[in-house]
Symmetry: C2
Subunit: 254 residues, 2 copies
DNA sequence: CGATTGTTTGAAGCAGCTCAACGGCCGTGG
DNA sequence: CCACGGCCGTTGAGCTGCTTCAAACAATCG
């Protein structure tokens, strides 16, 4: 694993990635934080639950899933998140000095490595970087809180619609299409993340296809009716009638 | 609201509260962080979702519930946590500068106020305090991740057993009995937190009572068979036979 | 090209929900 | 102090959304 001296100079995520994570408005030098890049192949782990926490990672290219095994509550394992380019992985390490989840690549991927020591040293010098880190940690908390609410209160259909919208926004944020993308994870992974079975995910996709909300074949997804998807996420019922589903976005339907 | 100059001198949580939160091994002076105390009466809010984030709070006496309304996923509201003495409230504010949950007192309570500015200033001077804050944030992430796994994979019974064990441990940590305590929240609150209905909580309590695992009348709870409760949390089925339930805790006993 | 892995679809069962009624507690006001 | 009203908790009955089990088929990869 060769260290790249200034990997950020040519990084096309400068707008959305590190500056967003650490000291965005202060024009910091991301190359001071990034130690090097690292490649991970499909299905390989970037780190394992329980490994010593040495670095935070930022996805450079590709995608990952994180999965956790709750110690407190038996031997249940669940996917706790999907990670796209520009998103930080491993923040949980700040808690105990160990990673609390395993991170596995969903395709051949690469990451930027931000050693903990560097983050702390530079954070100490530059309050803006420190605040950026706090914000990143806080955002992780917020994201998980929203996930808790989703798992605690939403139907299977609402959960899936919410995930698809979330992925859509995140893809769009990095310049990809918001309407058409590849699901790099299995139905099982999606189900695990959403707290439902893989079969149910499959059935839900079929239902949404029949309702004209989206096209989906295997991993390839195309959102046809974003408004309908949104209204589903917020609580409406799916219907086999596309027009009806679309109209549901506005409450005053016939 | 009078500022108390050195409220920590006489604080009986020194062992478990601030030192644990901020720079535990370095003998920091908690009174530099604590601005003052504040009292909140039953059913009153310490802060509301969306309020500007000015302080982190630590429960001094009493208890709170936090509840969130997921913006992303409709108008669903859920209890996201219960807070006992010594536990930090409001950490989510670091994300957006606003509180992401509302905190409501479950009984007449009081809190220590740690102004954000002070935390950041002192954290900058003392790396140990900084790391303590990072650890507290990381722990919040871990706790919520465990909650996600619980909501995503566990049965209603497993969820309730897990909550009771968790409360037991937390009460014990602050010198209260691990076996007998008061549930200050309603069945509805518990259900909301666990993603099940209040009626189901009530039925589960009835079942656990019949199984001899605990005594419960209204808010008063007594755990009779901690081992059985643990094995339920980890996946065993409840039984009407106390002996059987107990035996399940350790497979090899007589 | 065969083996493995992932996806779809069907059928049956059940865990937990909703709706509803009742009963006990507690705070408020007489 | 006692009576009243509202809230909380309990319990029952019926229903349904999701699960599990199973089989067939498609895609991918060595």
């Amino acid at each position: 694993m060769p260290a790249i001296s200034s990997p950020c100079a040519s990084c096309n995520f400068r707008r959305g990635c590190l500056p967003r994570l650490l000291g965005k408005e202060h024009g910091e030098h991301p190359e001071r934080l990034v130690h090097m890049h690292r490649s991970v192949r499909t299905a390989e782990a970037l780190f394992h639950e329980g490994d010593a926490f040495r670095s935070v990672y930022v996805v450079f290219g590709g995608s990952f899933k994180a999965s956790a095994t709750s110690a407190r509550a038996g031997t249940r394992t669940q996917v706790t998140g999907f990670f796209l380019p520009g998103e930080p992985l491993g923040l949980t390490g700040f808690a105990s000095g160990r990673y609390e989840v395993s991170a596995v690549a969903l395709e051949d991927s690469s990451v930027c490595v931000l050693p903990r020591a560097r983050i702390e040293r530079i954070g100490h010098e530059l309050p803006a970087v420190q605040r950026g880190l706090h914000a990143a940690l806080g955002q992780a908390i917020v994201r998980e809180q929203e996930m808790m609410v989703l798992l605690g209160t939403a139907s299977a259909e609402q959960r899936l619609a919410t995930l698809l919208l979330d992925l859509s926004v995140r893809f769009a944020r990095h310049g990809y299409s918001a309407h058409e993308f590849l699901l790099r994870m299995t139905r099982e992974d999606i189900g695990s993340y959403l707290g439902i079975s893989g079969e149910t995910v499959s059935r839900l996709f079929a239902g949404l296809r029949e309702a004209g909300v989206l096209e989906v074949q295997y991993r390839r997804l195309r959102i046809l009716d974003m408004a309908a998807l949104r209204s589903l996420a917020h609580g409406a019922r799916a219907s086999a009638e596309p027009a009806v589903a679309a109209r549901r976005a506005a409450p005053m339907e016939a």
